[in-house]
């Protein structure tokens, strides 16, 4: 009985360790630093890193040409420039809440976005 039990425990441990290693090797390369626009402007250590920013699209800053879109995202205090070269999501408009993921480039001071999500208002009911 004991030997059987030991076998089950050992094989489970091996599998869990294998899964663990899998996660460990992936987590580090998938870091996205979640920051507000003000924090990004203030923190130079974020240059060249992947960041995730949420905020409102500033009205009047949206420029589009040849499929590349530039706009500013604000948290009410500071705003940061975002460059995005994919199709804009449906809910995207001025003043919409967006979540941007991408690399914060040191040279241009802009976030080169890889993904852009405009919040779906019904799902994220804001609290009064």
């Amino acid at each position: 009985m004991k030997a059987r039990r030991r076998r089950v425990v050992i094989t489970s441990a091996i599998i869990i360790v294998f899964f663990g290693i899998l996660v460990y090797t992936t987590v580090g390369s998938s870091f996205l630093y979640y920051r507000t626009p003000s924090e990004i402007i203030a923190d130079e250590s974020l240059h060249g890193k992947s960041v995730k920013v949420s905020g409102k699209v500033v009205d009047g800053t949206i420029e589009s040409s040849e499929g590349t879109h530039r706009f500013k995202v604000t948290d009410g205090k500071e705003s940061v420039l975002v460059v995005y070269s994919d199709v804009l999501p449906s809910a995207f408009k001025a003043d919409a809440d967006v979540i941007v993921e991408g690399v914060y480039e040191s040279g241009s001071g802009a976030i080169k976005a890889e993904s852009l999500l405009a919040k779906c208002p019904s799902k994220y009911t804001s609290q009064e």
């Binding site: 059987r4 899964f19 199709v87």
Partner: protein, 646 residues
């Protein structure tokens, strides 16, 4: 009327608390009169929740914008169907809907068997859970809150939600969420009454199957909606809200399988109970995630009033449950696994993988919260995290699906197993290699197809072998399947999962896309597909929206294949553009076209074309999975009749 609604909620809360107390005290003192009185609470709660829901529904139908919830999610020009579905468009309404379902399921549970101490305790838990939802509805999430001033028209429903899938997606999800309360209540009751064995196990399995089926349909409809409406070319973005519905489905899958082993082999007892609790908690957690905004910003945690309720409710139930499990651990000790090459162990590995996957998704979803709390540095994990981890885990899981039906309970004859496994391995290797060399040299993709062919082949072979062996003695094929419906339903479900995997692999590893601005007459070529701009069009879209779009002539290998017309729709009320994609769906691939923007020079249009191989397999596989599940779920009663006839 709103006042009456509010009153009904408070009355229900009083009934729920009283009934819980009557049950607990009556069961403790063995006073059957008190317990009988508690029974009245079961149907009273269902009737009262029904009345409250009807009052809210009426407010939607008569455009009563003095009710803030109606004001927030409806408007005069909203079509009737969407006025009804706006009921669950927001937090308050969806909680009321959840309560309605929970009271209905409690009532159904009551009608299908209330005898015995275990069932009584389960009813107690179910009513206590209702008390929690009613407390939420009475205080922080009151759907009947009225406006202090007169409001002439509502804000309207988000135009993205004006979609047929959105009519059915939320209610099916909520049916799943609410129904998962019953396996949980049965588990607690089994622990309290110390009954490791008994008819409750199969009852628990049926409710799990039911909940799991609806949760699955809900996720399926949500993905279909995202693919059709969100215009990003995919169907799943590892968004916290999506993860919230996936988590209970994963633990529910594990629960379903471990219940099968519990019933058949008297194993995995504590494990099964823990899974029932985890699944229930995941349903609550899902609502917690979607409704509290905790993932968006940790700071919302303190602000959101509903979050604190959920937190304490979860804590209370978890701690109570853990205490009970520790207290009863000796009585619920199950049989041990005998062999590493057995179905028992296969189920165990299946569970382990699923739970690990659940842990990954939970960690991924809560990573920003965890890092903020621990190192005061909010870090989230991007989709790349999931994209790297999910394929290996999924493949391992799929391999288990393929091998498990070949294994025997308790032990397996290794030589026979090897004989059975060689042919499928060779066939899938040939298949995968041809895909690799003749289609595209994609290692992850080909590996995936290798396992898909393997699992599909072994499962089909098992079905064929068993049925043809049975048919030797004559008889009706349908009767054979019906007599063993749980097994065949499961195997058909596995086929569905394999087909889903084909869709997942095809669309994630082999999709290609191109984007270009096309003037009238210009065309874009991607692989063998050519689309040509035939000019713009304008169109009225109902009373509240207008559309502009582009007609694209589709040619494949030079042959005309019709027109694709992606468009942009403008909704006056919300001042919002939504993109309507145009999809040419096929067995081997979807041609997915989005109108990105209209630059405004002549009839030029910027479009994006995406080729999504096998994506329709995803939807087909899901339907096969649901058909299999329904077959397993088909009532046993007719089976008893069948054996009488024979």
């Amino acid at each position: 009327m709103a006042k009456l609604g509010e009153l009904t909620i408070w009355l229900s809360l009083a009934v729920a608390i009283t009934a819980t107390a009557l049950f607990l005290y009556g069961l403790k003192t063995k006073n059957s009169k008190l317990v009988k009185a508690g029974h009245a609470g079961v149907w009273a709660l269902f009737v009262l929740s029904g009345i409250a829901s009807l009052i809210l529904l009426r407010a939607f139908l008569i455009n009563d914008f003095s009710v803030l919830y109606v004001f927030g999610y409806s408007s005069k020009d909203l079509p009737l169907l969407y006025k009804v579905t706006a009921f669950w468009g927001g937090q308050e309404g969806s909680l009321l809907f959840w309560q309605l379902l929970l009271s209905l399921f409690t009532f159904m549970f009551f009608l299908t068997g209330r005898k015995g101490k275990l069932a009584q305790y389960a009813l107690t838990i179910l009513i206590a859970a209702q008390a929690f939802f009613l407390l939420l509805l009475a205080l922080p999430a009151n759907p009947f809150k009225t406006a202090p001033m007169v409001l002439s028209d509502g804000m309207g429903l988000n135009p993205l939600l004006l979609h047929l899938q959105m009519v059915f997606h939320p209610p099916t999800l909520f049916i799943g969420y609410a129904a998962f309360t019953i396996p949980f209540a049965l588990s607690i009751a089994a622990l309290i009454t110390n009954q490791p064995e008994g008819p409750w196990v199969s009852r628990c399995k049926r409710w799990t199957l039911f909940a799991w089926l609806f949760l699955g349909i809900g996720i399926f409809l949500g993905s279909l909606w995202a693919y059709d409406e969100l215009a990003f070319g995919g169907f799943w973005a590892w968004d916290p809200v999506e993860n919230a519905s996936l988590l209970p489905w994963l633990t529910g899958t594990a629960l379903l399988h471990s219940l099968a082993v519990y019933e058949k082999r008297r194993m995995f007892k504590i494990w099964t109970l823990i899974l029932a609790m985890t699944t229930f908690l995941m349903c609550i957690l899902g609502t917690f995630i979607t409704r509290s905004g905790i993932i968006e910003s940790v700071h919302a945690f303190g602000e959101s009033s509903i979050a604190a309720y959920f937190f304490w409710f979860m804590m209370l139930f978890t701690l109570g449950f853990i205490f009970l499990v520790i207290y009863r651990r000796k009585d619920f000790k199950g049989e041990e696994i005998h062999s590493l090459i057995s179905k028992d162990y296969g189920f165990y590995l299946n569970n382990l993988t699923l739970l690990f996957f659940t842990a990954i998704v939970t960690i991924g979803t809560f990573y920003p919260v965890i890092t903020e709390l621990l190192i005061n540095n909010q870090i989230s994990l991007g989709p790349s995290f999931y994209n790297k981890i999910v394929p290996p885990l999924g493949y391992i899981y799929l391999f288990f699906i393929g091998t498990c039906p070949l294994l025997g309970w308790k032990t397996t004859n290794t030589v026979r197993l090897i004989k059975k496994i060689i042919l499928p391995l060779v066939i899938s290797l040939v298949g995968a290699l041809s895909i690799f060399f003749y289609w595209e040299k994609n290692l992850w993709g080909s590996t995936g197809f290798f396992i898909c062919i393997f699992a599909g082949f072994t499962t089909l072979e098992v079905i064929y072998r068993e049925i043809s062996a049975g048919m030797k003695y004559g008889g009706n094929l349908w009767h054979k399947i019906k007599a063993n419906r749980i097994r065949y339903g499961g195997l058909i479900g596995h086929i569905g999962i394999v087909v889903i995997f084909v869709g997942l692999i095809g669309s994630s590893f082999y999709s290609v896309q191109k984007e270009a601005t096309l003037n009238k007459g210009e065309s874009l070529k991607i692989k063998d597909v050519v689309v040509e701009n035939e000019g713009l069009f304008e169109k009225e879209e109902g009373v509240s929206a207008d559309a502009v779009g582009v007609n694209l002539a589709l040619k494949i290998d030079g042959k005309d294949k019709g027109t694709l017309s992606p468009k942009l729709v403008y909704h006056y009320k919300q001042e919002q553009w939504t993109s309507k994609v145009s999809i040419k769906s096929g067995v081997l691939r979807d041609i997915f076209v989005v109108l990105a923007e209209l630059p405004g020079q002549g009839e030029s249009a910027r479009i994006q074309v995406k080729l999504n191989p096998f994506i329709s397999w995803l939807w087909t596989g899901a339907i096969v999975l649901f058909v299999g599940t329904m077959l397993s779920f088909w009532p046993e009663k007719s089976r008893a009749k069948l054996s009488e006839v024979n």
